[in-house]
């Protein structure tokens, strides 16, 4: 349904944009109908940038995003609005997603005035109540309140309800539960899983491996803007092939294990000598001189890895 082709995002920094920062480097993947794909990576890996580009909130430097076969860069004005009828997003910080000086349910009003101006207040009210019910919110407790009077979980669920008011087919969920506490987390995750059954596709952006595993059909491991490993979630998590994925999995705290010293290799000096090398070169314990920049290699059906030595180490 939505397809990314060699997406690259380069930020220009400094005076006259002399310094370049490649936030996303040649990333390609596609998301089918009713699929949840998790995009997993550490801070600065470019996962949020990818989400924002898919929502057309920031321009793409190179590459193409296709939505139902049509190029996203051609969507402007009314066409772009139609795109947002089908593609929606929920962001990381629920408190900053609401304008603090207005009541929280204003987000529903805005959707009505932009997309459904022809509906009467009563008809719309029914839609809103339906949407709130499907995210498990009691309308009495959340309507007519200011954002600061509601909890993060309630606000985040309201944002999901907002997306449901439209004919949303694809949802970008950018770290939507990282600011919620553990008890509400699982509720929100289950709502997403429930919505998936109804045919909604979700890009689930997270830095938390266990959340990615819990919910997604496919996983993409991102490091410094490049895909390190991608494939069916079960395959990526049961037989991790890339040294980075393995390191990440080893770093996950387990509920049945006490703390032990575990060293995470740090990035050594970065400079011109890493250009053209594998992105993970300077942290990889298995790196050799031949570790050049590596595209994805197909290992088996639904499992790709960006390491040329995947089968001999």
């Amino acid at each position: 349904m939505i397809e990314l082709k060699d997406i690259t995002k380069v930020y220009s920094l400094g005076a006259f944009g002399k310094r370049k920062l490649t936030a996303v480097d040649n990333v390609s993947f596609s998301i089918g109908e009713g699929k949840i794909i998790s995009l997993i990576g550490e801070s600065g890996s470019g996962k949020t940038t990818i989400g924002k580009m898919m929502l057309k909130l920031i321009p793409i430097t190179k590459g193409q995003i296709l939505f139902q076969g049509k190029d996203l860069s051609l969507f402007k004005g009314e066409k772009l609005k139609e795109y947002y009828r089908y593609v929606q997003g929920v962001f990381q910080d629920p408190f900053s997603s609401f304008n603090p000086i207005f009541k929280a349910d204003r987000i529903f009003e805005l959707v009505k005035s932009e997309f459904f101006p022809e509906l009467t207040g009563r008809e719309w009210q029914i839609h809103v109540l339906d949407a709130l019910e499907s995210v498990g919110l009691n309308p009495k407790t959340v309507l007519n309140k200011f954002p600061h009077q509601l909890s993060g979980g309630q606000l985040q669920r309201m944002l999901i309800a907002r997306a449901l008011l439209l004919d949303t087919k694809f949802l970008v969920a950018d770290e939507i539960i990282s600011m919620l506490d553990a008890s509400t987390r699982i509720d929100v995750l289950n709502i997403l899983a429930e919505l998936k059954k109804g045919g909604l596709s979700i890009l689930f952006i997270t830095h938390d491996l266990s959340l990615g595993y819990y919910i997604s059909d496919e996983s993409i491991i991102l490091y410094r803007g490049s895909v390190m490993e991608a494939g069916k979630t079960e395959k990526v998590f049961s037989t991790p092939l890339h040294p980075y994925t393995r390191m990440l999995l080893d770093a996950v705290p387990r509920i049945d294990r006490k703390w032990t010293t575990f060293e995470i290799p740090e990035r050594k000096a970065v400079g011109s000598d890493t250009i053209g090398m594998c992105k993970y070169y300077d942290r990889c314990p298995l790196a050799t001189k031949e570790c050049e920049a590596q595209g994805l290699i197909k290992v088996e059906e639904d499992h790709h890895v960006a390491c040329w030595r995947w089968n001999d180490v």
């Binding site: 929502l55 909130l57 929606q88 997003g89 997603s97 609401f98 987000i107 944002l159």
Partner: protein, 283 residues
């Protein structure tokens, strides 16, 4: 909203600085609006003998030429408020427009607009106004306020731009964008309401600033060729040695009025700052 509004009103009514400021400005505004109805003469009429100290007939005395100072004073107040209102509104409006556009759009639009703003900012305003005023044969109070408005906006634009830059990174702006709202609408319904208190204060400062600039222009003889203003009164008083001749009633009232109005405006500004910003409130 109800809670917040009443909270702001509560602190506004309690704030002494704001109360003093509003009282003084309201007093002079009242004089400016209703004073001319009580004035017995036109400001430029020869009302009677010159050098008359304040009396029952001439409330603020007369000038060297026998003009009624009270009439001049209340009509002058009117034009002072007109300059403040028109000049302040224009400066605030242009400043908001450029600031919002520049901050929200970013990129090339931002570069160009800020370049333009900086150019206007470094042009010595007073020199420009002097040249403009010197070229025009007939100058009215309204035209003067327009000139002042068109030269006073840059700092507002810069301040609004930086606030917009910080507000537009908040997620609710992104949410508005994926609701398909157009940039102008986002600025007006999402960003502006968050800055309303600031915009209000900017207007007050621009109001006071325009009054001061107008008074300066009038005083150096580049004020309106028709009509009367407080600055013009002061200029004439100085020109005809009012102080040296002991005619304090001619020279002092316009000076006091301008100082009091502008001072009260700044009082209101600091008072409002405390009302809108809870950290500055005295408990």
């Amino acid at each position: 909203m109800k809670f917040r509004k009443s909270e702001i009103l509560f602190f506004a009514l309690r704030n002494t600085k704001l109360r003093i400021g509003v009282f003084i400005v309201a007093l002079f505004a009242f004089l400016a609006i209703f004073g001319p109805y009580f004035a017995k003469y036109e400001p430029q009429d020869f009302a009677g003998p010159g050098y008359n100290p304040p009396s029952g007939e001439y409330w603020l005395g007369t000038t060297t030429f026998g003009r009624d100072v009270f009439s001049q004073f209340v009509y002058g107040l009117r034009s002072t408020f007109l300059v403040g209102f028109v000049g302040g509104s224009i400066a605030t409006f242009i400043g908001l427009f450029v600031g919002f556009l520049s901050g929200y759009k970013g990129g090339l639009a931002d570069e160009l607009l800020m370049m333009f703003t900086n150019i206007v900012l470094v042009i010595p305003t007073m020199a420009l106004l002097i040249i403009l005023a010197a070229y025009l044969k007939y100058r009215g109070v309204f035209l003067e306020s327009v000139f002042i408005g068109f030269t006073a906006w840059p700092w507002t634009a810069r301040a609004v731009r930086s606030q917009t830059l910080s507000l537009k990174t908040r997620e609710f702006v992104n949410l508005a964008r994926i609701t398909g709202m157009k940039p102008l609408k986002i600025i007006v319904v999402e960003i502006l309401p968050n800055m309303l208190s600031y915009v209000f204060m900017v207007f007050i400062l621009q109001f006071g600033g325009a009054i001061l600039t107008a008074a300066t222009l009038d005083f150096i003889g580049l004020g309106p060729t028709q009509g009367i203003s407080l600055g013009l009164m002061m200029q004439q008083a100085v020109l005809w040695n009012a102080i040296q001749l002991g005619m304090w009633w001619w020279a002092v009232p316009p000076g006091i009025a301008i100082t009091a109005i502008v001072g009260a405006m700044y009082f209101m500004n600091t008072g409002l700052d405390e009302v809108f910003n809870p950290k500055l409130r005295e408990m």
